[in-house]
């Protein structure tokens, strides 16, 4: 991409920052599949000596390869993706056992870099633009399982609607394409169980 911009077409607009797979800003569609381009080797994805690079699907294009990520991150907020602790700074640290079932579930989903590869790959987002999407739901799941968090019921209520976890069709494209090998499908399935349990206990 940098070669194209520096040598072939200086007007090309595209995003990148860290170049080491941490920042999540360089996701694009390469030969039809959403990928993090900084960590994608051309020889692994080139087909018949051709490579087509396009902006991410399911997001409005601003220019060339740059998409408007606002709705993607707005949905994190809609899914109540903000941590809300129980303790104040005057209290001691809350101890969390690293090998507890809850913490293991959080660890499996916590490394998300917010690149929107899953969101771009999700067929349900294409069908229903209101669907919160794999990344926001994965974020909600990691907070639901976080024993330090105090907003579990509000969060479950936020993800239980028509555009929430129950809309997932388990196509698993998010799991298939996540560059960090996270499985949002697993988190979404967990949210479905938590919502059902909360409903059963009349907590919702």
């Amino acid at each position: 991409m940098t070669h194209i911009q520096r040598v072939l077409d200086p007007t090309l607009a595209y995003r990148f920052a860290c170049r080491v797979g941490m920042c999540g800003s360089c996701a694009m569609t390469v030969n039809g599949v959403a990928r993090w381009t900084c960590r994608t080797h051309v020889d692994k994805v080139v087909k018949n000596d051709r490579m087509e690079i396009a902006p991410l699907r399911n997001l409005p294009v601003i220019r060339d390869l740059v998409t408007d990520m606002r709705e993607f991150f707005d949905k994190w907020a809609k899914a109540k993706g903000q941590f809300s602790g129980r303790l104040t700074k005057n209290e001691d640290f809350q101890k969390v056992k690293p090998d507890s079932l809850e913490r293991v579930a959080v660890d499996a989903g916590i490394e998300c870099i917010g690149c929107a590869v899953c969101y771009s790959s999700c067929d349900v987002v294409s069908w229903n633009p209101d669907y919160l999407g794999p990344a926001a739901l994965n974020r909600a799941w990691t907070l639901v399982k976080d024993e330090r968090d105090s907003k579990k019921i509000e969060r479950l209520r936020a993800v239980a609607g028509d555009a929430g976890c129950h809309s997932c069709h388990t196509h698993m494209s998010c799991t298939e394409h996540c560059p960090k090998q996270i499985s949002p499908t697993a988190g979404i399935a967990g949210l479905k169980r938590e919502v059902s349990l909360a409903l059963f206990r009349k907590a919702l």
Binding site: S121, D123, T170, H171, M172, S173, T175, A189, R193
Partner: protein, 108 residues
Amino acid sequence: MNVHTGTLAAFVHRVSGILLTLFLPVHFYAIGTTLQSAAAFDALLVWTQMPLVKFGEWGIVVLLAAHLGGGLRVLALEFLPWRDWQKTLVACAAAIALAVGLVFALAL
């Protein structure tokens, strides 16, 4: 649409469900007809011996098996602690459909 194992499994699950729904009115019509008289029941039995109907019957059993396999896959995904064996699940669902189809074809 991204085509990979998961989407294919979901597609087969969905299409088999739609086809089975379309078959239901035919099913109820056939039952309704046979309940009218013994002669109507015998006529339907003769009709079911036609090769094409037998083939259709086999198709319905395969669809049912595929839909059952797909349903078990979704239940396993949503209720069992899994991470890395989702493709095995799809393979199990396909194996169930194939096995039931073959057994039924042999029994015909």
